[in-house]
């Protein structure tokens, strides 16, 4: 998964605006336990991805995240003893001892999984729509080397993936039994270190060793897409914080499930889906 510029309003927006929108979605997912709100965040991120033309990347992220979500949902009831509504008595289990499964623990596990899913999908949207080089420029004034190191680390991931694939192919070409996993891990690590040294040499000769802080130039004017997505991000944050402070969409799991699914909650969810998508209505100047 990687960034590729596409003809979409979100790609046309500056990295700060795109990051703000994705950050607002992540913040909302972390603020609420309500499954409707979490579902709204996921729906907003997926719809934004579809409108930005990166649905295949988000679909891959979904497929990658779903097993984790299910694992969290299944594990939580096994490791927590909270909740009062027992739905299954396991009795004595090896290592886990006497174990009762409660409805509340199951629901809380599902909520944790849903939140993880919302965060993963939001980051997938960020990864597919925010230009990492622009992001580097955004942070370079704060800490150029840290920002560059982070960017390079993310760039090395696909390079090392390709290296790993090549090594796997090479090992498939060996006749006889394949080498042990430990041997392969050692070879892959050695290869990664070789790669890192080569990239470091390339950085040196590009002047990285003498990197100087760039002079402050005239800031680029804000485009309509920059303004629209920054505004949408601010609105999502305001909605989420306001609703949280007002107690809208409160959802208690332990000791007993208490949900306040009222009109305000539904309105909040609808707003969380619609507001991030409004900037996509303006498709002028997106090439």
């Amino acid at each position: 998964m990687g960034y590729r510029r596409r003809a979409s309003p979100l790609h046309a927006a500056r990295a700060a605006a795109g990051s703000a929108l994705c950050g607002a979605l992540v913040l909302t997912a972390l603020l609420f336990d309500d499954p409707l709100v979490l579902g709204a965040v996921i729906a907003a991120a997926l719809a934004a991805g579809a409108l930005a033309g990166v649905w295949p990347q988000l679909r891959r992220a979904l497929l990658f995240a779903l097993p984790f979500t299910l694992a969290i949902a299944l594990l939580n009831p096994l490791v927590t003893e909270q909740g009062v509504t027992v739905i299954w008595r396991f009795g004595e289990l090896p290592l886990l001892g006497d174990r009762d499964i409660t409805l509340e623990a199951v629901v809380y596990g599902l909520l944790l999984g849903l939140r993880a899913l919302a965060v993963i999908v939001s980051f997938a949207l960020f990864s597919a729509t925010v230009d990492p080089d622009q992001l580097l420029r955004l942070f370079r004034r704060v800490s150029f080397r840290s920002a560059l190191t982070a960017t390079l680390a993310t760039r090395m991931v696909p390079v090392l993936q390709r290296d790993g694939q090549r090594i796997a192919d090479a090992q498939r070409c060996r006749p006889g039994p394949p080498p042990s996993r430990l041997t392969l891990v050692r070879a892959v690590t050695a290869g990664a270190l070789d790669r890192a040294v080569e990239v470091a040499a390339a950085l040196e000769v590009r002047g990285y060793g003498a990197a100087r802080r760039p002079p402050r130039g005239a800031a680029a004017p804000w485009s309509r897409h920059d303004l629209a997505f920054t505004g949408a991000a601010a609105a999502v944050v305001a909605l989420a914080l306001g609703a949280r402070l007002a107690g809208v969409a409160s959802f208690e799991v332990y000791p007993r499930i208490v949900a306040s699914w009222d009109a305000a909650t539904l309105l909040l969810c609808a707003a969380l889906v619609v507001v991030p998508l409004l900037p996509f209505l303006d498709r002028r100047g997106i090439e």
């Binding site: 990687g2 960034y3 590729r4 510029r5 230009d131 990492p132 080089d133 580097l136 370079r140 960017t151 390079l152 760039r155 696909p158 390079v159 090549r166 090594i167 192919d169 090479a170 090992q171 498939r172 070409c173 060996r174 006749p175 006889g176 080498p179 041997t183 392969l184 050692r186 070879a187 050695a190 290869g191 070789d194 790669r195 080569e198 990239v199 470091a200 040499a201 390339a202 950085l203 040196e204 000769v205 590009r206 002047g207 990285y208 060793g209 003498a210 990197a211 100087r212 802080r213 760039p214 002079p215 130039g217 005239a218």
Partner: protein, 578 residues
């Protein structure tokens, strides 16, 4: 004005047994195009790394003597500071491109120098236009082809217009077309921008004509410092492995001077009466005098000991193919076709070179042959095991000792028995290649088909000759060879058939003399000099034809100069330049 000055400069890598550079004294002036020649491991890369400041600042080690780059002492100025005056391009473009998009990559060195946004934008535009990559500016770097990546990496090296550009075998991963384009581009930058170029290359015939001067290294010492013609004279006497095919052709034919390019070689042959003068415009093209002199191989009766062509073999044993692909299609998940209905048949013992531009489908075809990829449509059948040696031999090396990597018999066959106790990564490039070959061969019966993907990348001429001889032994044992290569000289040395792929399908398939003698990019230098006449691909065959012509026929349009061969250009002694 001197841009690079070595003064009794010696360098030893940390833990290295001997000096990689030994008492090198040479100066390079502004605006020169210098070619750095030498066999593998003789110090070319180290010299370039010293010029960029990586030696000693990045690699460590011991340095004696002086080295200044644009007046900056390398001892006190690291690569980051030297980057303002030196651009550097290494062999592997993938590890040199560090940013996400082409625009950011070109901007990166300028931003590192603290240039203003306006200066960065201008530098990016100028570099992109100069290198013809303006259309790629918004493209993600991970989507670029090898040739495009190399251009972008060169653009990053040139952004900010350094006085000196150091290039370490930049064409080794490029097809002949992209390689020639890159050399042409360097020449243009040298002429129009006045940029000093120092280029290390193994395929000297590709770039000798562009160079003003050649430095040859041997054992870390400067062995020759001469103009191209003088270098060829020196190479003929002292380092035949560095002689270009064109120079060898004329020397073996008894003609002088040694040519620095195809144009000069043809002029010399024409003057000697061994080639006809070009026909005047509008002249009747047939019958060509050249064809009368050198009847083409096509249709000729083969010599009794010549390797059987695939057509004859096909007639002889149609059902005994070692490898057969039938309507083989390979498509990416997005529907893009890499191979399109490829029909290919290899007979046991047949030696096939697979050629074509980067991205033509060569590697994909080899992967299908070895069963690493599944066809979208069509079939691949083999008479037995298919061994595949992929591009990077390092990918095969996973153990601590050579003896653990491959059985003793395979090591013996690859000529590596003496290295059994060494660490695989301590071997030279050519030895690693042979070790990887031993690994894929194993101790089983010889494979029905042996596939190799670009086995000569970064190899010098002597190592290529060794590899060609090794491959011939496998073919003699009955294995069919299918070798993807960009190197026409290597293809001519080992193959008896060439399949040229274009856009995923074979666009030419025939005996090596027919395919490689008839093209321009996919042709050996000998074939280009002789215009494909006689199907001669290597200097020895070409020289025999020329000698035969000179001995038996009256000169055609011979000029007075032909009667008196020009004296060879003398190399400028290294000491004199010091």
């Amino acid at each position: 004005m001197t841009v690079l000055a070595f003064e009794h400069f010696s360098y030893t890598y940390p833990g290295g047994g001997g000096p990689a550079l030994d008492d090198v004294t040479v100066t390079i002036e502004d605006g020169e195009f210098v070619l750095l020649a030498g066999r593998s491991g003789e110090g070319k890369s180290t010299l370039l790394r010293a010029g960029s400041g990586l030696v000693p600042h990045f690699h460590g080690g011991e340095v004696t003597g002086e080295l200044t780059v644009a007046g900056l002492d390398v001892r006190s100025h690291g690569p980051g500071q030297l980057a303002a005056v030196v651009g550097t391009l290494f062999q592997d473009p993938e590890t040199q491109v560090v940013m996400g998009t082409v625009r950011s990559e070109l901007a990166f060195p300028l931003e590192n120098r603290g240039e203003s946004p306006a200066a960065v934008a201008r530098g990016v535009e100028e570099a992109a236009l100069a290198l013809g990559v303006a259309h790629l500016l918004e493209r993600p770097t991970h989507e670029l082809s090898g040739g495009e990546l190399q251009r972008v990496a060169l653009g990053a090296a040139l952004a900010g217009r350094p006085r000196l550009v150091l290039l370490d075998e930049p064409t080794s991963q490029l097809d002949p077309v992209a390689g020639d384009e890159l050399i042409g581009l360097l020449r243009r930058l040298n002429e129009e921008w006045g940029t000093t170029i120092v280029l290390a290359e193994h395929r000297l015939e590709r770039c000798l004509a562009a160079a003003d001067r050649v430095l040859a290294l041997a054992g870390g010492r400067l062995a020759c410092d001469a103009p191209p013609a003088g270098f060829l004279t020196w190479a003929a006497e002292s380092a035949p492995a560095l002689e270009t095919p064109g120079a060898r052709l004329l020397r073996r034919a008894g003609l002088a001077p040694a040519p620095i390019g195809v144009k000069q070689a043809r002029a010399t042959l024409r003057a000697a009466g061994a080639l006809p003068s070009p026909p005047p415009p509008g002249a009747d093209p047939a019958p060509a005098a050249e064809e009368r002199q050198f009847p083409p191989t096509r249709g000729a009766t083969p010599a009794p000991d010549s390797p059987p062509s695939h057509r004859r073999l096909r007639l002889r044993s149609d059902n005994s193919a070692a490898l057969r692909t039938k309507s083989l299609w390979s498509e990416l998940p997005d529907g893009r076709a890499i191979l399109r209905a490829v029909d290919l048949r290899l007979q046991p013992g047949e030696r096939v070179a697979l050629m074509g531009r980067n991205g033509a489908g060569k590697s994909t075809l080899l992967r299908h042959a070895a069963g690493l990829a599944q066809p979208t449509r069509g079939t691949v059948t083999a008479a037995g095991r298919v061994a595949l040696l992929l591009q990077n031999p390092n990918d095969y090396l996973v153990h601590e000792h050579v003896r653990d990597e491959a059985p003793a018999a395979a090591l013996e066959a690859a000529g590596l028995a003496a290295h059994a106790d060494r660490h695989p990564r301590d071997l030279s490039g050519g030895e690693r290649q042979r070790l990887a070959l031993a690994i894929v061969l194993g101790d089983e019966q010889p494979p029905a088909v042996l596939c190799l993907d670009e086995p000569t990348r970064g190899m010098d001429r002597a190592h290529k000759a060794d590899l060609a001889a090794l491959l011939s032994r496998f073919a003699s044992a009955g294995s069919a060879l299918l070798v993807a290569t960009h190197d026409p000289e290597f293809a001519a040395a080992f193959a008896d058939r060439v399949v040229l792929l274009g856009d995923g399908r074979p666009i030419a398939d025939g005996p090596v003399a027919e395919v490689l003698a008839g093209g321009w990019y996919f042709a050996t230098e000998t074939a280009r000099i002789l215009g494909g006449a006689g199907g001669a691909l290597d200097p020895e065959t070409g020289a025999a034809l020329v000698r035969e012509r000179l001995a038996s026929a009256p000169p055609l349009a011979a000029s007075p100069a032909a009667a008196t061969p020009a004296p060879p250009a003398a190399p400028i002694p290294t000491e004199a330049r010091r």
